[in-house]
Structures are given as C-alpha cells and as structure tokens.
C-alpha cells in the first residue's frame, strides 16, 4: 500500500513559546480511517492544521500525495488545501447564506479568484453540490439558511462542503464534540461510510476513546506533542489508554 500522507519529525512551537508538537512521525495509507486521540492540549488540533497549513509548522516535513506541504508556498498551498477537506467542531458554516452555497464554498479552490469571489459556479458544480446534499439527506434543506438547521444537520453540511472539494484526505477536528450522543453516532456513521465508499483517507481527532475504537481502522494516541500509541483498535487496551491519557 502506498502512503498518501507521510509526516516526518514534525515540530511546532507557537509564538508564545509553547511547544505543541515535539517530534511527530507517521505514515497514513490511502483509504485508511485514522482516529487521533489524546487529552486536550496534546497537539491534536495543531497536527491536523499543520497538514493543510492553517498552522505554520516549525520544522520537519509533511508529504501529502508526493508533495511536501511544509515547503509549499502560495499557489501550492491553495492546491494542497483543495485536495484536503476539513470538518470542524463548531461546523464553521457561513450561517447567513444558504446550505447549497455553503457546499459550493468547497469549490472555491478550483475556481479562478474573481469568479469564485463573486460566487459564480458552473452548472455542473451546482448539480454536483445538490447530489452531495441528496446523498447526505439534506436535499430538502438546500435553500434554507445554514443557521436554520440543527447542529447535526449543520455538521452534515460541513461534511458536504468537504466532499464537494473531491478531497483525497479529510481532516475532521473533533467533529462530534458539540453534538449530543445520538447525533454524534449518526455523524460518525456517515463520515466513515462515505470515506469507505469513496476511498477517501480520513484523520479524525476524537476525545471519546470508545467512539474511536468502534469506527477507526487505526488509532494514533498523542500526548504532549509526541505519538505514544499507534496501532489497530484491538491493541488499544486499558494500559495503552493509560499511556495516552496519563495517570
């Protein structure tokens, strides 16, 4: 199997001096569904944001599909980002525009700067966005304003936005932390089903170990900026959990 994402000796120190990532190395293969677990402040969010350069890494390398993301500049970052979809804890939709428009935002990286800025999308892109919404069961909500939707529905729109990018990788940063348990279950089912069907590689930050064990092919445990566990869910026993979350 080929590695679609290879991280070597990744380090990140923030301007205020905190060392968020000490020395992270890992390989993710095409189509893997990986859960990243760890206590809050361990560096999970920073790790994900380094991959699409929302956070500037301080050192190391991140090879995404053969291209080094750390060395990418300007235009290359845009190209990288459009191949990497992202889903957020707070959904981060533009609440005052329609659901359909929020999904179309996933196409911005493909449009030329002016057309995209003016919100001009091709008929084909709009059709595809509608199909994605239909697939996620949001067809009826298409023309509603995003803030009229429930939390679970908003997160589905967030997934739809990432899908419309036709991404190789999806990064999900605590996608269910703001949702109730039942909705969380639905969202995780949708996310894992879609990634498997479309062969999308997925990295999910989670803080619920049980959810990670049920959905992931592989679990990576992070503590204080370093990888302390990396293996299949079966291998994550109580002792390993203790290593990740500490005494």
């Amino acid at each position: 199997m080929s590695a679609i994402l290879e991280i070597r000796n990744l380090r990140k120190r923030y301007a205020d001096g905190t060392l968020a990532l000490k020395d992270v190395s890992l390989r993710v293969h095409r189509g893997e569904f990986v859960a990243v677990i760890g206590p809050s402040g361990a560096g999970k969010s920073t790790l994900l944001r380094c991959i699409n350069r929302l956070v500037e890494p301080s050192g190391g390398s991140i090879i995404v599909n053969g291209v080094d993301a750390v060395k990418a500049s300007g235009r290359q970052i845009r190209r990288l980002r459009r191949e990497v979809g992202m889903i957020f804890q707070q959904f981060n939709l533009v609440e005052r525009v329609t659901v359909l428009r929020n999904v179309l935002h996933g196409r911005l990286g493909y449009r030329n700067p002016i057309a995209g800025a003016l919100g001009l999308f091709s008929r084909q892109e709009i059709e595809e966005a509608k199909n994605i919404l239909r697939r996620l069961g949001l067809h009826e909500q298409m023309y509603k304003r995003a803030d009229e939707l429930s939390g679970g529905q908003q997160q589905r729109v967030g997934i739809a936005r990432a899908l419309s990018q036709k991404p190789l990788i999806i990064l999900a940063d605590e996608p269910i932390a703001s949702l109730d348990p039942a909705t969380s279950e639905t969202i995780m089912q949708i996310l894992s089903a879609i990634c498997r069907e479309d062969g999308i590689t997925c990295l999910v930050n989670l803080h619920q170990v049980d959810v990670a064990k049920r959905y992931a092919d592989r679990i990576i445990g992070i503590r204080q900026g370093t990888v302390v566990f990396d293996g299949p869910p079966e291998a994550l026993d109580d002792k390993a959990v203790g290593k990740v979350y500490g005494p």
Binding site: R82, V94, R96
Partner: protein
C-alpha cells in the same frame, strides 16, 4: 418582599451618610477624581468664559421679542428654498453613497483579523479623516475648488469615509474566526474568503451603519450651506444676514421637517433591518 429586603441595606447605608459600613460599595478613585475635576473645571469654564449676564437677560428678552418677527413664517420664496432643501439632500446622498463604496473597500484593509499588515496604517489614516469636522473639510475644499455643492459633497464624503471605515472594520473584526479558517481550508484565496465568507456575515451591519450615516450626513449637509457649500444652510445664513426673520423661520421649519422625516424614515428602516437580522 424580597425586593424590600434587597433595598433596605442599600437605603440604610445611604441614610447613615458618612459612616463607613462594610456593605457600602467602594468608589472607583479615577471616577471620583474625574467627577471632582469636572466640577472644578465647570466653575473654571464659567469664570473663563466670563459671560455678561446682563447681556444674557437682555438677549433673551430680545430673542423672545424676535419671535414676533418669526411669525407668521414668510413662505414667499418657497421655490428657491425648497430647491435648496433638495440640493441639501442630493449633496448628502452623493457624498454618503460614495463614502459607503470607498469605506466598503478600505474596511477590508483596516480590519486586524483579515489584514493585519495594513490595518494600523489604514486605521490611522481614517481616524485623521474622522477627526476633522465635516464643516472644516468643507472650508478647505471651498478654497480649493470654489463654492457650490462640490465642496459639500467632498466634505461629507471625506468625513464619512473616516467614520464608516472604522465601523465597517469593527464589524469585520467580529466575524467568527472559525468561519474564516473553514473557508481558507477549502483552498479559497483572500478575495474569495472576504466576499464569500466575511461579506454575508457583515452585510446587515454594513447596511445599518450606512443608513445611520446617511441620517447624520443629511443633518451635516443642512449646515454646509452656511459656509457656502450649497444647500439650505445658505438660505438660512442669507435670511439672518438680511434680518428677514420671518423667512428664516420658514427655512428653519423646512430644515426641521426634513431632518425629522429623515429620522422617522431611517428609524423604520433600521427596525426592518434588525427584523431581518
């Protein structure tokens, strides 16, 4: 009942006056200092201005007597006066609309969260535009381009750009950081993030500020004429200079009617904007 209980200790503390009780809230020394300074400065101001109080009395009598001249208002010259009133509106509209357009662009370079590099520079620049009153701008522009509506429009435009850019930028700075991050993560460029992500969030407040500014500018526009920058202020200054008090009172009524109806209309507009949320 509980209300009374809440109230009693506070009232008691107040009635006991100077005796310090633990329940009494401590006063902020800076505010107390400011209050004392204010009182002293008020007395100083009165002494410094050295009003002739005899004149105050005589003037008031004269002013009251002049009311007789104010009535009945002389509407004989209603045509040029109404034309001047319209010109006042035109000047305000052109100046404000242009200012909204320019401030709309400038604001994206003045907001810390989306343009940290240019923000301090643009903010400093617009605060200078804002600090010079519209009328002073009008005087400067009159010397530069001559009398008429043009210096009035430019003056309103300049001051309004200063104020609107600040307000628009503040609205942009309130946009949720997560939304910006989400759009950047799709690979969207700066312009795309601004127009697709920021603009929908700030559109309502931009609109509300623009309407508010139009209201203020119509008020400003009425006085620009006094220094010769076109509009109804000129008619007022003229009438007073010629001691045509009855004409002046008619002009005053027109100004009042104009500003009042604008206040009324914009209040309704603002309510509608708020309803749309």
């Amino acid at each position: 009942m509980s209300m009374e209980v809440d109230w009693a200790p506070a009232g008691a503390a107040r009635q006991t006056g100077r005796t310090e009780t633990p329940a009494r809230r401590r006063r902020d020394p800076v505010l107390t200092g400011a209050a004392i300074f204010g009182a002293v400065f008020f007395v100083f101001g009165l002494i410094h201005l050295n009003f002739d109080y005899g004149q105050l009395w005589k003037g008031t009598l004269a002013f009251v007597r002049s009311w007789a001249y104010l009535f009945p208002p002389n509407a004989a010259e209603w045509q040029p006066i109404l034309a001047a009133a319209l010109e006042t509106l035109y000047v305000a509209v052109v100046g404000t609309v242009l200012a909204v357009a320019v401030a709309f662009v400038l604001a994206f370079f003045a907001a810390e969260n989306v343009a940290p590099k240019t923000a301090p520079l643009v903010k400093g620049f617009v605060s200078l535009l804002r600090a010079v009153p519209t009328l002073v701008w009008a005087l400067i522009f009159i010397v530069a381009v001559g009398m008429g509506p043009l210096p009035g429009i430019l003056a309103i435009f300049t001051h309004a750009v200063g104020m609107l850019t600040k307000m628009f930028a503040q609205s942009i700075e309130e946009v949720d950081e997560g939304v910006l991050e989400a759009l950047r993560a799709t690979g969207a460029g700066w312009l795309q993030v601004m127009l697709q992500g920021v603009l929908p969030c700030v559109a309502t407040s931009f609109l509300a500020w623009s309407v508010f500014r139009l209201e203020v500018d119509i008020g400003e526009s009425t006085i620009l004429g006094v220094v010769g920058a076109g509009g109804i202020g000129w008619e007022m200054a003229n009438a007073m200079r010629n001691y045509e008090f009855d004409t002046a009172s008619f002009v005053g009524m027109v100004i009042f009617a104009m500003v009042y109806s604008v206040e009324f209309a914009t209040n309704r507009l603002k309510n509608r904007i708020r309803l749309r949320g």
